[in-house]
Symmetry: C2
Subunit: 281 residues, 2 copies
């Protein structure tokens, strides 16, 4: 499946899954707000692309994708809070705390960050595989939180070395999971997929920084140039736009090559199509 | 072991465990602040008491106890935030956000609520048991968050029926886990322990409400009468102090009886000793 049609395939299933959760009705409305507010669904796309090529059952891949998207939304809800990034607009809509209040945003974020563990721990797979998936997941989700902490902290004292750690923890951790999870489900070794996922994630964050620098409001759905305005620490504080583009492309295409070497030719091509869509030059 | 000496046994081990976590040094300082700020250690005491009588290895019980205490601290850090309970004092010390700032309190809370999954998923037990422990754990931790949401919400519209739900979700969920976890570790049925834990938790919350109403500052380590001042919804909004005491005692002692019926005579006596220490009349 191509990236540009994946969203239309994924979103209806995701919405059904969310609306079917057995929790307090008012809370559910708050829980589904951010996951359903949009988003590229890049992370579940990666899981699907690799998982399909490995021959994993679609229903399992869906659930893993839901888990990642729910967590990602939860971490965005917290990042957007006034005491952290103070964002009022996300994916073209009001951020969670603007819509529901800070107290509710904190608790919805908590729930969204915990719920994926339940989803991943109850996949219809044997308990050995289940344990491995949860182990990798919880490490990645803890790293996302730690990365956000470093991000908040290092904005006060810019440091290029730390920036790489932030990229690895805050963004690349989830990609690492997405690349490795299908291999765990297939009961295969997953150290190389983890490494590829990390590199892919780093290049994705670089591309995101670059896009934020050059894009217009319509494309982003968030305040453009905001990172710069907030004096937010990105790679562009240390290198030129051209240099950043060059580095991002190199890492991105090197990841695709390694995906191909793992035998996933189709995935490699599908990931290539993403790059064309988020073209930055 | 008696409850009054358990803290001195548990705390040094807990501190060692926390300080040994392999994470960023500054973040670690924030992570250990609330767990080491005090607390009765009632939840790990229950796990120990039941687990020892069932013959579970001590090191495993310790880790389960650490997990519960870390999560409990994380949820307190979020509850204390200005947009939720706005507490500035907890266990006689500054609350987390007063000490480290709101941004750090949010992220430390996130980490503390996720970390227990890692601890419980890596216990040295077989993967079937591991999966069961994580499944019960994640349900209980999600319920704590949902209970806090209802608590925040229902303070605006008091409702006695909802109060019971709040007690069950916000407080009793963790007790349910503490009562059931040792039985899971022993690979035994755990539905009755879950029920006893829930009832025990409800009675504990009632006792806590009653204590808050009648205690002095030294005993509580938090602003006394604060619940009332904030117009916080507790059982005392609906029944008299005497009636609340009577109900709390009845549920508490009924739980102990059922613990005894399960064959845990020693545990039943140890839990009895807790009641004598938190005597409320």
């Amino acid at each position: 499946m191509q990236f540009n049609v994946f969203k239309d395939f994924f979103n209806p299933k995701f919405e059904l899954f969310l609306r079917d959760l057995k929790i307090n009705e008012d809370f559910l409305e708050m829980l589904i707000y951010t996951p359903l507010a949009g988003g590229k669904r890049l992370r579940p796309f990666i899981i699907f692309s690799i998982g399909k090529e490995l021959g994993i059952e679609q229903e399992i891949l869906e659930r893993v994708g839901f888990a990642v998207e729910i967590f990602h939304s939860g971490s965005l809800i917290h990042d957007d809070l006034p005491s952290i990034d103070d964002d009022r607009l996300r994916r073209g809509k009001k951020t969670h705390h603007v819509k529901f209040g800070e107290d509710n945003a904190i608790l919805t974020g908590d729930y969204s960050m915990l719920l994926p563990v339940k989803i991943l721990n109850s996949l219809p797979v044997n308990s050995e595989i289940s344990k491995k998936i949860v182990a990798l997941w919880i490490d990645c989700s803890l790293n996302v939180v730690l990365g956000e902490y470093l991000d908040v902290k290092m904005n006060k004292v810019p440091n290029k070395e730390l920036l790489k750690d932030i990229y690895i923890l805050k963004t690349a951790a989830l990609f690492k999971f997405c690349f490795a999870a299908p291999f765990i489900l297939k009961d295969q070794k997953y150290d190389e997929p983890e490494k590829i996922g990390t590199d892919f994630g780093i290049s994705f964050q670089l591309l995101d920084d670059i896009k934020d620098e050059i894009s217009s409001s319509e494309v982003l759905g968030k305040t453009p140039g905001k990172d710069k305005k907030q004096n937010k620490l990105t790679i562009l504080k240390f290198v030129s736009l051209n240099e950043a583009k060059k580095t991002a492309k190199e890492i991105y295409f090197n990841s695709l090559k390694r995906v191909s070497i793992l035998g996933l030719k189709e995935t490699s091509q599908e990931l290539r199509s993403i790059f064309d869509l988020i073209e930055i030059s």
